[in-house]
């Protein structure tokens, strides 16, 4: 490519990206930087935010305060359990879907994945109907002679609803890697006398591992920052990081503290995503030799 063409191409490229770039700088880069600065600002309940004084107090109380520690720990185990359940349910389901015949495969794929496009508030409300004190689950329990259980506003309700919301994010990447699988490999292993279990473990699983890992990280990241589900199904007592940030901003009005927690959440999320990219690149290089 001649220099002249390169320059012209460059100019056109920048020109066409300019509106998007302006939007992202004004509404993404600048607000995130402002929030980072805000998280170091001094806050006082009587006088509010002091934009001229700086402190690291918010971060040290984030690390030291047992109240925050408890919420971060709860967020971690709820997200980890959600992720585990999504793997246990999503991976076999994606495999079953991929082995289905022609019309059923796309029908069920769409049925299982489209709840993704329905408002999370609606889905959370659906679960509160099912899990409520006289909801369908408790009615069924009573019909079979069991005693009603308190399900709503417990970590159980949050985990169930999170699995419901996150399952598509596990099925999609696993499905994508299953599509790349060569059925001949499975047949070859079978014809050589491998059992079904051996084929799964030695042929299928190693090849869909990238999809499973990708789904794991997406689900964990989304679950750890989920807001509407713990807000509606966890009640006031089962707080997670996102509902904690909401409280700091809109009830405590302690924006700098909320900003510090938000920055911590964002950094943890980006760390997960970047380590994933690094891992993929490493694998890619290895497979190229």
């Amino acid at each position: 490519m001649s220099t002249l063409v390169a320059v012209r191409q460059g100019r056109q490229g920048y020109l066409l990206s300019a509106p998007a770039l302006a939007l992202y700088v004004c509404l993404l880069v600048i607000p995130l930087l402002l929030t980072l600065v805000l998280s170091f600002n001094v806050f006082d309940y009587s006088s509010g935010i002091n934009g001229d004084a700086y402190t690291v107090d918010h971060y040290s109380s984030l690390l030291g305060d047992p109240y925050f520690y408890e919420i971060f720990l709860r967020t971690f185990w709820i997200s980890a359990l959600t992720t585990l359940l999504c793997v246990v349910i999503g991976v076999p389901e994606a495999y079953i879907l991929s082995r289905m015949g022609a019309p059923w495969r796309s029908i069920f794929l769409i049925l299982i994945l489209t709840p993704l496009l329905i408002s999370v508030v609606v889905r959370a409300f659906g679960w509160s109907l099912l899990l409520g004190a006289d909801g369908l689950v408790n009615q069924t329990l009573q019909a079979f002679g069991g005693s009603p259980m308190k399900l709503l506003y417990t970590p159980f309700a949050v985990v169930i609803a999170l699995v419901h919301v996150m399952l598509p994010f596990m099925i999609i990447p696993v499905w994508t890697s299953l599509q790349k699988l060569d059925p001949a490999a499975e047949q070859a292993a079978m014809s050589l006398g491998a059992s079904h279990f051996t084929v799964m473990r030695q042929v299928v699983l190693p090849q869909i591992m990238p999809g499973v890992l990708s789904g794991t990280l997406i689900v964990f990241g989304l679950a750890a920052s989920s807001f509407a589900i713990p807000g509606l199904l966890g009640g006031r007592r089962i707080k997670m990081v996102a509902t904690l940030i909401y409280d700091q901003y809109l009830s405590e009005l302690n924006w700098p503290m909320g900003a510090a927690i938000a920055v911590a959440l964002l950094l943890l999320n980006l760390l997960i995503m970047l380590s994933w990219n690094r891992m993929i690149e490493g694998r890619y290089k290895k497979s190229l030799g």
Binding site: A6, G10, G13, Y14, L16, S17, P19, A20, L21, L23, Y24, L27, L28, I30, P31, L34, T35, P92, I96, R99, G101, F108, L111, I112, L113, T114, P115, L117, I118, S119, V121, V122, R123, F125, G126, W127, S128, L129, L130, G132, L136, A161, P168, T176, Q179, G221, S225, F227, A228, G231, A242, I245, Y249, W255, G258, A259, L265, L266, N269, M273
Partner: protein, 264 residues
């Protein structure tokens, strides 16, 4: 002809029931004639749907969401199409960085974007303004349009464009007559996907809306934290119906399976 055993099919049935149960229950409860959250047993009633339309706050929130989603999806498309063309057909320094930046709102928690925009809007003194709410939504839905337009612009046969160019077509004619028709499924699909995502968005909106600009999901969220009654089920059923309608359109213009799991 299924290769799945009976155990696999049982497992599959349970997963499908699990995925659909909350939505089906919401739609059924919406038709209850009772005052409590119960499944209609003897008759179906529309009283709770009537109740929704008598609530001015819900009706206003619905119109807010509709206008917001329409404007935001259109603006996002106007921004994403040129950016996608720039990324797919021009070599320029920083191209990969632009691509990553433009897709990044997908991996940044909406909650973090919400508090960051709240800070910006508060400093600018525009918090609660409808115009800025539109821009906030444009930011989070642009990646969805961009992804679909990128997918349809990559690997496009350029020979028709070259032919038109050599016959003296201007840049705008070239885009309108040749390029746009070829990427149209991606553009229309991207618009619809953006529309759905904007219409559903709650986490970011809750921080940057005022009572006057409250969107339907925010109104529903606030209402559901205070009380639960069958009216909420009726609103939810309406939202499900509207989403289903948009999904059918999306399936027609782009293919729902392609949106959800990429090319088949």
């Amino acid at each position: 002809m299924s290769k799945n055993g009976p155990f696999a099919l049982l497992f599959h049935t349970l997963v499908v029931v699990f995925m659909l149960a909350p939505l089906v229950v919401v739609c059924l409860v919406a038709f209850t004639p009772e005052n409590t959250l119960s499944l209609p047993t003897t008759e179906f009633s529309l009283r709770w749907f009537r109740a929704v339309f008598e609530r001015a706050d819900f009706v206003d929130a619905f119109y807010n969401s509709l206008i917001l989603a329409f404007c935001a999806a259109s603006l996002a498309t106007l921004i994403a199409v040129p950016a996608a063309l720039a990324i797919t057909r021009f070599e320029f320094p920083g191209r990969d960085f632009f691509n990553g930046l433009f897709l990044s709102p997908i991996i940044i928690p909406h909650l973090v974007l919400g508090v960051a925009l709240l800070r910006l809007f508060a400093l600018m003194g525009v918090n609660g303004s409808f115009a800025w709410l539109i821009f906030a939504h444009v930011l989070v839905i642009t990646p969805y349009v961009l992804r679909l337009v990128l997918a349809s612009a990559i690997g496009l046969d350029r020979s028709a464009e070259h032919a038109a160019q050599s016959l003296g077509a201007g840049r705008f004619t070239l885009f309108r007559q040749i390029t746009l028709p070829m990427i149209l499924p991606g553009v229309a699909g991207g618009w619809l996907l953006a529309f759905i995502n904007s219409f559903d968005e709650v986490t970011l909106s809750i921080f940057v809306t005022s009572p006057a600009t409250q969107t339907l999901p925010v109104r529903m969220y606030v209402y559901a934290t205070e009380s639960i009654d069958p009216m909420m089920a009726a609103v939810s059923a309406l939202v499900i119906a509207l989403t289903a309608l948009t999904m059918i359109l999306l399936d027609r213009v782009y293919g729902l399976d392609r949106v959800l799991v990429g090319k088949q």
